[in-house]
Symmetry: C2
Subunit: 280 residues, 2 copies
Amino acid sequence: MNRSQLIDTIKLKRSYLCIGLDTDPEKIPTHLHKYDDPVFEFNRQIIKSTHDLAVAYKPNIAFYEGQGLKGWESLQKTIRFLDSYKSSIFTIADAKRGDIGNTSERYAAAFLGLPPTGLNFDAITVAPYMGHDSVKPFLKIENKWAVLLALTSNAGADDFQNSRLENGQTLFENVLGTSKEWGTPENLMYVVGATKAEMLSAVRKIVPDSFLLVPGVGAQGGNLEEVSKYGMNSDCGLLVNSSRGIIYAGKGEDFALKARGQAKILQQQMEVALYDHRII
Amino acid sequence: MNRSQLIDTIKLKRSYLCIGLDTDPEKIPTHLHKYDDPVFEFNRQIIKSTHDLAVAYKPNIAFYEGQGLKGWESLQKTIRFLDSYKSSIFTIADAKRGDIGNTSERYAAAFLGLPPTGLNFDAITVAPYMGHDSVKPFLKIENKWAVLLALTSNAGADDFQNSRLENGQTLFENVLGTSKEWGTPENLMYVVGATKAEMLSAVRKIVPDSFLLVPGVGAQGGNLEEVSKYGMNSDCGLLVNSSRGIIYAGKGEDFALKARGQAKILQQQMEVALYDHRII
């Protein structure tokens, strides 16, 4: 999905919600364990119940990798199921990969490449520490995206990302400013943690046009209103993620309906923000 | 494998060689394609032919992930085969993972955890950008190791790792100094690229006792003699990796023997360095 299709989808659904499929076999409703692949069945019902409210889905790859081969099968089935909504859903592999050039090419092929070996996600999250040649291979594939970590929403973000460089910038500002030359707003987004909404102003000064993937609304404590206020640009420019707050909203047979209820609450707040910013 | 076992193995084999299993189906000898799993067969023959010369093996996970489910099967078979040499081989998943705490726990389970879902590697490479809570989950498992990226051997290392902070340190020095409080030399190693051998002196000032995993000897241009001169401590404290220079030394049916020849050249140089440093 390219940038203009993503913006069209946001306007159509009146939403910039990304649902994080951090699917933990131990947290899903127990009645699903009768299925051959409970993780996939959980994802399938969540997606089926929420796809008109969310513009993006983001499986966190660790949750699948942690289940070994079986987990990779669940992931493969999930992305194939998402394909049936391909024209209206943006898919992000939350993998936080990054390695030297010839190795990042392999990760790009694994997550952005075509089946049977590639998973054919629209985007993948990428770690910046190893620099340009670790990121560029993800930017070379047409209509695919890299989502580079800039400022994350965890406590450890303060260890290095907020370190002050001798030129006065913080490291995360330097990551934004340096990396924006490697791609364009058509193929490069940034992860910016929602626990620090006021920092979105600093981010917007450096990358006014880029899409930002904002995790941490909900369980990690971010505030949607603040995020929209400081982060939205004239194309919306935001994908706001919620994982646990949506997917684990219910424990019973109606878990997917409960998830829809939570997604609807966020979508309605997003609709207001989009209206206030005259985007819809 | 714990630290004292690793040091004993280095002394026994008179080697601190790590062989990188960056196994590319397109680069392995064509006669192997008659096997059900050519990648595993290649790895099996390489390991069988070199295990007395190498103390560690390091599959780069991207090469397996890039092959989809089939790649994960090859990886699983490879680590199970390495298990048959478990008492004398240290295994490193070169995965460069890192995410918020509850997610890093999943990656730790995937790579360091026990079968059937865990791959049971001794160690995993980890990216530092997300800070302490992204790294600590890898340090919690007994007798297992995190190998944190400090200074990598690629061109992009200059983008951020060598950035000067306002306290005068470079970012990679800050990563070393900050992170050494998260673990101990018993469970935390560092990746330090061999293309910058003189920088090993700066590294040793900050982490005198830690093991360093040094990639880039061979194809990436590092010099073993320099690395040993600046990086070795009284316990050796080095694992020096070579991937392509060893595993692709031959193209014919004798590829494993050719690989052994290259491994032997490095092992003999290492034996001299260990002797010069009075470690053996």
